[in-house]
């Protein structure tokens, strides 16, 4: 664990080193347009990829009609959705209902701007980074945008004026907020060893050799925590309770149709791609990898490495979906608040300790392990009490469960009211009645 305290200076894109001329404008414009187009096309391919891979895993064929190997299936679906009637539910809040899909899509696009997709390219004597923007607060943009993405989901559910979307959106936003904490702490761990918030600096600090990749340098745990947290953040399986079809019809987008519905899916798959790219940036050296020295082509090899690494994570997400069953809501919250956050905190302190001194690090690890043990013990005690507590009512709950399930989902089975309060009015009313009469 070797923390290199870099000179904490602002580097930024060399493109802007000599002022902003027309060439800079053109380059920036091209970067933005290319990133936008590439993202849209890759979403199209990602949906096809997901459907094909999951079909293979389930011994089906999958889309195979539109284009070779069904490659154009997404395009066909998109065209169909585009020409569908656009319905506005009568009880919806029209303005917010129309706004919500864009609040999902824009953050998904913006996150990708800070991801370094390649090395430094020189065109006409002007070197520039293969990255749309390299702000000094790079990784905070990712966190800020994933915080903003909550609005799209939340407002979509609320503005539909319908119960299932509302329940789905509440689940989604509670889940996203809960896992954002763990996400942020793991990002801080990476920032500690990098010494900078810039994504480019993170990639550069991992570029010496592959054992300098953060996944190895930080111990493998932060990577696993991060992967779990962003899977929840993306509301992908196994954390997809927000659109649990068996319970909520379709989650927050139940009332959406036509192109607005398509926008939500666009945002969702775009988020999968950008978040995979963020994982690669934070833990796997981004575009880092052995580059053969070929004339004019070696500049583009990092990009190939980057794409390859992202593809691995895209596959992992599809694999998750095919292999893992959905978590229950309380399990989701337990995992987030009681395991991910304490573990990421202890690991953060451990990494900070090792950056100071080996002994400090060991001390922090020992103290952290002791605290974690106490915490687990406390959970066990709490759980044991809850079990004892619940054992009296467990039988009753099991028996009454079918009625709960078939009952109106909007009348949540609140723990049955304690017997005394209903009894009280019954006993008092005759008294008051007789008083009134007499």
């Amino acid at each position: 664990m070797t923390g290199t305290l870099l000179a904490l200076t602002t580097h930024g894109d060399p493109l802007y080193a000599h002022g902003v001329g027309w060439f800079v404008w053109v380059v920036v414009l091209i970067k933005v347009l290319v990133a936008f187009a590439v993202l849209l096309v890759s979403v199209m391919l990602m949906i096809w990829f997901e459907r094909k891979v999951i079909s293979d895993m389930q011994s089906r064929i999958g889309p195979n009609r539109a284009g070779p190997w069904g490659l154009l299936q997404t395009l066909a679906d998109g065209t169909k959705l585009f020409f569908k009637e656009d319905l506005l539910p009568e009880r919806s809040d029209r303005f917010v209902f129309k706004l919500a899909p864009y609040l999902s899509l824009v953050p998904a696009l913006l996150i990708f701007t800070v991801v370094p997709v390649g090395g430094i390219v020189t065109i006409a004597g002007h070197p520039f980074e293969l990255q749309v923007a390299d702000p000094p607060i790079g990784i905070l943009v990712v966190l800020a945008m994933s915080a903003v993405a909550v609005y799209g989901v939340m407002l979509a559910g609320w503005s539909s004026g319908s119960k299932y979307p509302l329940l789905g959106s509440v689940r989604a936003s509670a889940q996203m907020i809960s896992y954002e904490a763990a996400l942020g702490i793991v990002v801080v761990t990476v920032v500690l060893v990098t010494g900078s918030l810039s994504t480019r600096a993170m990639v550069e600090s991992q570029s010496a050799a592959f054992w300098d990749w953060n996944v190895i340098r930080l111990g493998i745990v932060p990577f696993l925590l991060f992967l779990t947290a962003i899977t929840a953040e993306l509301t992908r399986p196994p954390f997809d309770l927000t659109e649990a079809e068996s319970e909520l019809v379709g989650g927050f987008h139940t009332e959406y149709s036509s192109i607005r519905f398509a926008l939500f899916f666009l945002a969702e798959f775009m988020n999968v791609i950008t978040m995979s790219a963020v994982v690669v940036t934070l833990f796997f050296g981004g575009p880092d990898g052995p580059v053969p020295h070929l004339p004019t082509f070696d500049v583009w090899f990092p990009t190939v490495w980057f794409l390859g690494k992202v593809l691995v994570f895209l596959f992992i997400y599809v694999w998750f979906r095919a292999a893992l069953p959905r978590l229950r809501y309380d399990q989701l919250m337990t995992l987030g608040w009681k395991y991910l956050i304490p573990f990421s905190l202890v690991w953060l302190l451990g990494v900070a300790g090792f950056l100071v001194d080996g002994w400090w690090g060991l001390g922090v690890i020992v103290v952290g392990a002791a605290c974690a043990g106490l915490l687990v013990r406390a959970f066990a005690i709490g759980r044991g009490r809850a079990d004892q507590h619940g054992s009296m009512t467990a039988l009753g709950a099991r028996l009454s469960r079918p009625t709960l399930v078939t009952g109106s989902p909007l009348a949540p089975p609140i723990p049955p009211a304690p017997p005394s309060p209903p009894a009280r009015p019954v006993t008092t009313r005759p008294v008051s009645g007789t008083e009134g009469e007499g």
Partner: protein, 255 residues
């Protein structure tokens, strides 16, 4: 006015354009907050204002503050506002004609006149701090990044204030948790005559972490059954869930 402003603050034309646009956005949002009849729209206007301020922070080279502004205020605080608004069922159009306080309109007018007079008086008599030098030094001193300098000053010069604030926030969180958990204990006691321990919640009890989220979660999970498969019963703050339902019912049937 414009050349004067540019001359006195060494700002460039793009700076001025950014400022004007952001100021317009901030003011639009601020007016929206107080003038929207629907409280969700008001909360969204607040987000607009916060974004405008964040861009103004970037304009001032305070990138870290801008990011934190978006993450903390827009990403967490207003989201919690929205949770509360949605779950207390106050997300309807308000009847503006009704006056809960007698004579509040004339009183408001008087206060506005007093405040405006005060502002005009101050503007006329005192001198502006716009363009003055920062007390804590430049945001890009010595070629260091803004984040570095902020961290330096927070963890050295202003450490005491920083730690006090942190302590205050922890106290507030603990207090909120204690207040939020009390009803569930009261309700549980008569069910099985044994004292409900503070930690007696099921494993899905998120109240420890953040009460508003927990309340929302409790209400949201109601549909799938707050009685889980193990028969563990999670303490749902009865008052909160009940009201949430009322709110939703009104939404579905009323609005």
């Amino acid at each position: 006015m414009t050349p004067l402003l540019l001359a006195s603050t060494r700002a460039t034309i793009p700076d001025l354009i950014t400022f004007v646009v952001c100021a317009a956005v901030v003011l639009t949002g601020a007016l929206g907050v107080v003038m929207s009849r629907n409280s969700v729209h008001a909360a969204l206007s607040l987000v607009l204002t916060l974004f405008g301020v964040a861009v103004l922070f970037i304009e001032q080279d305070a990138q870290f503050l801008a990011a934190v502004q978006v993450i903390v205020y827009a990403g967490a605080i207003v989201v919690l506002f929205l949770f509360v608004i949605m779950f207390l069922g106050v997300d309807r159009e308000e009847n503006v004609a009704a006056e809960p306080l007698k004579g509040q309109r004339p009183l408001a007018l008087v206060l506005v006149v007093i405040a405006a007079t005060g502002i005009i008086f101050l503007a006329a008599t005192s001198h502006w701090v716009t363009g003055a030098h920062a007390v804590a030094g430049s945001t890009t001193a010595g070629g260091h990044s803004n984040t570095y300098l902020l961290g330096r000053s927070v963890f050295t010069t202003y450490l005491w204030a920083f730690e006090i604030t942190a302590g205050l926030l922890v106290i507030a969180v603990v207090g909120a948790v204690v207040l939020a958990r009390r009803p569930s204990q009261v309700h549980e006691e008569p069910r099985d005559a044994r004292p409900a321990a503070p930690g007696a919640g099921g494993p899905g009890d998120a109240a420890v972490a953040s009460p508003p989220v927990a309340a929302a979660v409790a209400a949201g999970t109601g549909a799938s059954g707050s009685t889980t498969d193990d028969g563990e019963r999670r303490p749902v703050p009865a008052g909160v869930t009940g009201r949430a339902e009322d709110g939703m019912d009104e939404r579905v049937t009323g609005s």
